[in-house]
Amino acid sequence: MSKPIFAGAAGGLTTLLLISAAAAAMSTTITKQRVTLGRVRPIVAPSVAKANFLALGAELEACTAAGCEWLHCSVQDGVFVPKVSFGAPVVAAARKACPDTVIDVKLGCIDPENRVAEFAAAGADAISFHPEATKQPAAVAQRIRDAGVAPGIVLNPGTAVASVAPLLDMVDIAVVMLVSPGHGGPKYTEQAVEKVKALRALRPDLHISVDGGVNEKIAPELLRAGANVLVAGGAIFKADDKKAVVAELIRNAPHKRGNDIQAADDHSGPAGSASAFEDDACPDA
């Protein structure tokens, strides 16, 4: 089945966005073409929630300079995910700071269909949502597509690939959560690996993103299973040498090495632990 994969595929889609005073709050007028997601390849996507919010522009520019092609904005509304993270104004600031980076918004919100317009206007290049958060997920995916944005679906630990199979043809991204967002608790790494394998088998051209405590210890296994987007946490922002952190995360990406068998323990790195992120703007985001 051949479908246009990216919002900007085959002929180029130019989207002009005008933010009205009644739309995305403290507004920046964004008038630019959307950044296309590009082909499936290893991508490190730092989570904006873990950035130093007081110097957001500088933090995000440094990530982009270090080779991060996507910026992950985990929007939590305090209801679907029990902690409020941030909203469209911060996304607009990220877009303004990094005009050529993919702004990858994940809506941990109920009724995501009501948020599509504001985040499209804020400059999102991709908007993912949870199927449990809405009554008609296919319609939401279409609404995102109609806004000129790449749609994505998010699979929480309790969400089966089979339950979202029909949606996979309608989206450009599938996000596999390794943890229950906002609730803490265990990391469901093995289950996530199985889901990633199943998704990759169903859709070779889908961006498969993994999120929730992804670090250089578990990244190789996830990449081998077929994930290509790694949502990275505080380690990137805390590191002086961000390029090294990025390289370490994706060094075992299958397509780069040409073989699937890699020793997962042939390198050591800082242990990812909850305490490292306590200081963050949005723990659990």
């Binding site: 005073a21 009644a22 739309a23 995305a24 709050a25 403290m26 507004s27 130093n52 919010f53 007081l54 110097a55 957001l56 522009g57 500088a58 995000l60 929007v75 509304d77 305090g78 209801v79 902690k83 409020v84 993270s85 941030f86 909203g87 469209a88 104004p89 911060v90 607009a92 600031a93 990220a94 303004k96 700071a97 919100c109 009501n114 948020r115 504001e118 963050d280 703007a281 949005c282 723990p283």
Partner: protein
């Protein structure tokens, strides 16, 4: 907290952080405080009480590490009780919640008074909410909050037009509470502050007017002059280089975008 309301009324100018350049929040906060602001007005919107989602307690906690300013937090959230502990932890100095959001507003005030950090208690009214809604906040002949915030736009977005039809509420509150802080928020700029100050507002929240200006110090000073001459009835101050009697001038208006 009772001691606060016994002090004579002062002008309080609090720029709204949501209008700043969010890519440099610490710098912007410092800039307006240096320009003479009395407090930082921080809007917390949960996407439910108002359609917009701004940010949560962790961002305020982060800013607290870098700023000594008075954090005047305005909670446009559906469950203000749930935010009392987190706001105290985050370092808020003022806790203003919406009377429409609280099933029992007195419970919220009690919770704030009992919090781990002393916070000024404010109660806010949406434009369509009459002042009578504040009747729920009396106990034993005393009005419980320290401050009333009269929204002069529908809450949730910046850059909206000032609603002058909210002024009767401000006037009624000022008659009832001669020495209480009465704050207005929404579409305040050098033109509209005159209207608000005449009605009796002494605390002004201004977003775009301050942050989008090249000369925030002048805007803040002019807002303060407006309050002091028209609400507090003080004589106009003479300043080198600025008009000595307060008049709005067309070219100095900051219109919302």
């Amino acid at each position: 907290m009772a001691a606060l309301s016994a002090k004579p009324l002062e002008s309080k100018i609090a720029p709204s952080l949501l209008a700043c350049d969010l890519s440099d929040m610490a710098g912007e906060a410092a800039r307006v405080m240096d320009a003479g602001a009395d407090a930082l007005h921080i809007d917390v919107m949960d996407g439910h009480f108002v359609p917009n989602l701004s940010w949560g307690p962790p961002v305020i906690k982060k800013l607290r590490q870098r700023s000594d300013a008075f954090f005047d937090v305005h909670l446009m959230v559906s469950d203000p009780l749930a935010y009392v502990g987190p706001m105290a932890d985050a370092g808020a100095d003022g806790f203003t919640f919406h009377v429409e959001a609280a099933t029992d507003p007195c419970d919220v005030v009690d919770a704030v008074r009992a919090a781990s950090r002393p916070m000024v208690v404010g109660v806010a009214l949406r434009p369509d909410t009459p002042v009578e809604a504040l009747d729920a906040l009396w106990r034993d002949g005393a009005f419980l909050p320290d401050l009333v915030l009269v929204m002069t736009v529908p809450p949730g977005f910046g850059g909206q037009a000032f609603m002058a039809d909210q002024m009767p509420k401000v006037e009624a509150l000022r008659r009832r509470f001669p020495t209480m802080d009465i704050q207005v928020d929404g579409g305040l700029n050098l033109a509209t502050v005159e209207v608000a100050a005449r009605a009796g507002a002494n605390c002004i929240v201004a977003g775009s007017a301050v942050f989008k200006s090249d000369r925030p110090a002048e805007v803040i000073s002019a807002l303060r002059d407006g309050v002091e001459t028209l609400a507090l009835h003080k004589p106009a101050r003479k300043r080198g280089g600025m008009v000595s009697s307060w008049r709005p001038r067309a070219e100095s208006f900051e219109h919302p975008p």
